[in-house]
Symmetry: C2
Subunit: 138 residues, 2 copies
């Protein structure tokens, strides 16, 4: 495992325990967002609750973000932008491929500005696009 992994935790003020290193390492290897169950399978026989709480910590410290892709099971992915404990900036689009069932972050695809009705104030936005990804197109 890369030594930089530990540094990534320290940078975010996260105590680098063995479990947390494993989870972060697994996340670093992904090219799509994965679910708690995926992580559980990938780290067997690690305990589900611990992973759950690890992800919660990561999210609170601005290391990962939680993606609601509409499938009902939350997905987790590393923050690509500079996020911290106070604020998340993952205003990019997420893409759910109906063919391979994977969820991708599209960091270069920002959510466009939109004009809300009068007196509506936005603090957060979540845009999920469903369709077919590049690898699944035939």
């Amino acid at each position: 495992m890369n030594a930089g992994t530990e540094q990534k935790l320290i940078n975010k003020n996260i105590n680098p325990t063995a479990m947390r290193l494993l989870v972060l390492d697994l996340l670093l290897k992904q090219n799509s967002a994965i679910s708690l169950s995926d992580i559980e399978k990938g780290l067997e026989p690690a305990d589900r609750t611990t992973i759950y709480r690890t992800l919660k910590t990561f999210e609170e410290k601005g290391l990962t973000h939680i993606i609601d892709d509409g499938t009902g099971s939350p997905k987790y992915a590393l923050c690509l932008e500079e996020c911290d404990a106070n604020e998340h900036h993952d205003l990019h689009v997420h893409f759910y491929c109906t063919s391979c069932k994977e969820t991708f972050c599209l960091p270069n695809c920002k959510i466009p500005d939109l004009s809300l009705p009068n007196d509506f104030t936005a603090t957060e936005m979540n845009l999920v696009v469903k369709g077919v990804c590049d690898r699944c197109k035939n």
Copy 2:
């Protein structure tokens, strides 16, 4: 109950049973999207399963749409655009107010076009904005 309510069901090829009229009537009265539990409370002592299946039928016939607002419990609202059994066109933005916890359709707020990466094809989009609604701003 308005007689037009029954016609709305017939127009969508939905057999207008008593239960379905009640559910549709309740939906017509809302100015925000509501959950299955909300409807259940509003129609006590009607059975949850029946309401669930009623909403499923409505959705399949293009009368209502299901909104995933990220709270974990799906919300239901009447389709404002012309939807039918084959296709839904509810490409408007949904707004979740973190103050009153209500979910609104913003039919005049369309999801802007966006350019996906090469070889990604979109079939559906869901944009949820979180923030404070007009009634909750102080």
